[in-house]
Subunit: 332 residues, 2 copies
């Protein structure tokens, strides 16, 4: 199929899949800026998604790239308990990708955008050495009905959790990292024996509904998404708490995915530590007051208790001090 040779070709493809204006984006693509109408607060995040850093074209289909580049940004909105509203898209376009490739990538990105209520507000496009996608996404607070204390909506930040608050996750940890390592080792062949791991790496689940439900619960004292793995993200969470300085984490094998247990056995490593290190889980991780935790478990499906915050400056994993750092896109 033919190449896209001009900016116009690209914009036509983008217009084909992405609607432009709505009540939030009152002026869409095509001017110097987009114009948004906002009453109150907005949360905003920006992520880069760069070839051979965050993904490889050898085992990511164009549809996978379109999906994940937007999904990891939506995850930041979910982690604030926010409602995704719109995004801006920067595309760095290498030579040699045909129209069919871009059609597939943008179509899948648009499918996810439409599913989560995101409008493509604007962006930029240029050539470059490798495929790169830069997304800036923003959202509004979730306004739950019938809950007095939070009826104006709130964003779930990290700083308010306290010692003895219960720590929980929503989603798998370690599974995406397993998928990444296997894809790097054996390519797409990995999906035969480890389908869930590969899927977790290529297509992280969207958790906006859970984020909204958590923001509506007065029990929840803090939330973040696990992009670099619990080993690395947990200290970040704790660093922003005023009175909590450490955590005791309990990861029994029962809460780990079968494929993680299988992988750990094959590689002769600790499944629990592998899961704790993780990386690109895009699971939600949060804290909730102990007295209301049971109620939270009843209200929000899929919450898994994994530990408690403490006032001691140390991370305890399954009874032992954990000192390593986790996965990092920057240091590799």
């Amino acid at each position: 199929m033919k190449n896209l040779t001009s900016e116009q070709d690209f914009l036509a493809l983008i217009d084909k899949y992405f609607p432009s204006n709505n009540g939030h984006v009152t002026l869409g693509r095509g001017d110097d800026c987009s114009i948004l109408r906002i009453n109150g607060q907005l949360c905003i995040s920006k992520d880069l998604f760069i070839e051979d850093v965050h993904f490889r074209r050898s085992y990511f289909s164009p549809a996978d790239i379109g999906y994940k580049s937007l999904a990891v940004n939506i995850s930041d909105i979910s982690a604030m308990g926010g409602v995704p509203k719109a995004f801006a898209l920067g595309l760095i376009v290498p030579d040699g990708l045909d129209k069919e490739y871009w059609d597939s990538l943008l179509k899948e990105m648009a499918k996810l955008a439409n599913k989560t209520g995101l409008i493509l507000a604007g962006g930029d496009l240029c050539k470059g050495p490798t495929l790169g996608i830069s997304v800036t996404v923003w959202g509004e607070p979730y306004r739950a009905e019938g809950l007095d204390s939070v009826d104006k909506g709130r964003f779930l930040t990290r700083g308010n959790a306290k010692p003895d608050d219960i720590l929980f996750i929503h989603g798998s940890i370690g599974l995406a990292r397993t998928g990444l390592l296997l894809l790097e080792e054996t390519g797409t062949f990995a999906s035969k024996e480890y389908p869930a791991s590969v899927q977790a790496h290529l297509r992280p689940e969207i958790r906006t509904e859970t984020g909204k439900a958590l923001s509506a619960s007065a029990a929840v004292t803090g939330l973040m998404d696990l992009s670099d793995g619990l080993a690395r993200d947990l200290p970040r969470f704790i660093n922003q708490c005023e009175t909590a300085f450490g955590a005791e984490i309990s990861l029994p094998t029962e809460i780990l995915h079968d494929e993680i247990l299988k992988y750990a056995k094959a590689k002769n490593i600790s499944a629990e530590e592998h899961a704790f290190r993780g990386g690109e889980d895009y699971a939600l991780f949060g804290a909730a007051t102990a007295d209301k935790f049971e109620e939270l478990m009843d209200t929000v499906d899929g919450i898994i208790q994994i530990g408690t915050l403490t006032d001691k400056p140390e991370i305890i994993l399954n009874g032992k001090k954990f000192l390593e750092k986790g996965f990092d896109h920057f240091s590799g």
Copy 2:
């Protein structure tokens, strides 16, 4: 000087130069999202600034890169007549640049941010094959004092200009393109004979004050910034007007910079057409009603009349039809 080897090194450098929160950015860097407080409207824009596409390290100093990567984004806010408020920064970091390099780049970016009132709200950081900077910037409407019709502020979009409206520019056209061509031809040596051209390419002027003054004038019916040159951007402006379909442009040599005349003579090309083609001028280009244009000229310094909008679907440059396309970062 030593390299920056970890994300923490980078974040420390960023924290050194960029203040975090203010009344607009109520939660700054370090959480999943930044939180903004907004009453009413926001305009938002995103640009990519990629090595060997938008700049070369051979003749851009790190300070030039820090300046221009943010300046071209601020230009979009100026072109809306808006007040810059904050920005998000994505940095793609290649191997081999030392701490001194990044210090210089970020220091100059911060200088421009502070000068224009911009807070760095958040961003992302990763390794990559070449240096890349992705900025998303946003602003609020300018609320001029003592002007009834626009006292709530407005953004200057492109669609409201009409036939017989006068077209104007604020800034030089063709000068930055002259600088680019000379820098590509002779490297930094170009600045000896063509200092203004080189400066126009490396350090485009910020026109936020002019943008605000134009938004406060009821005469102005439309505004944009010239990123790809008048030849390419003028049709874009016209395409968004409901009743204007063409323009008559008059570019006498008197309004062109001396260096453009010198360059055109040396290359045996038409100075007027060279200026009209332009590229990366980051001048403001707008339309104003004829009856109030004199008043506008008296109010806003540096406005240069260059033509009128028409209802005929053609572009006339100095009496002749102009059919070519201008400069484009995508098609090259």
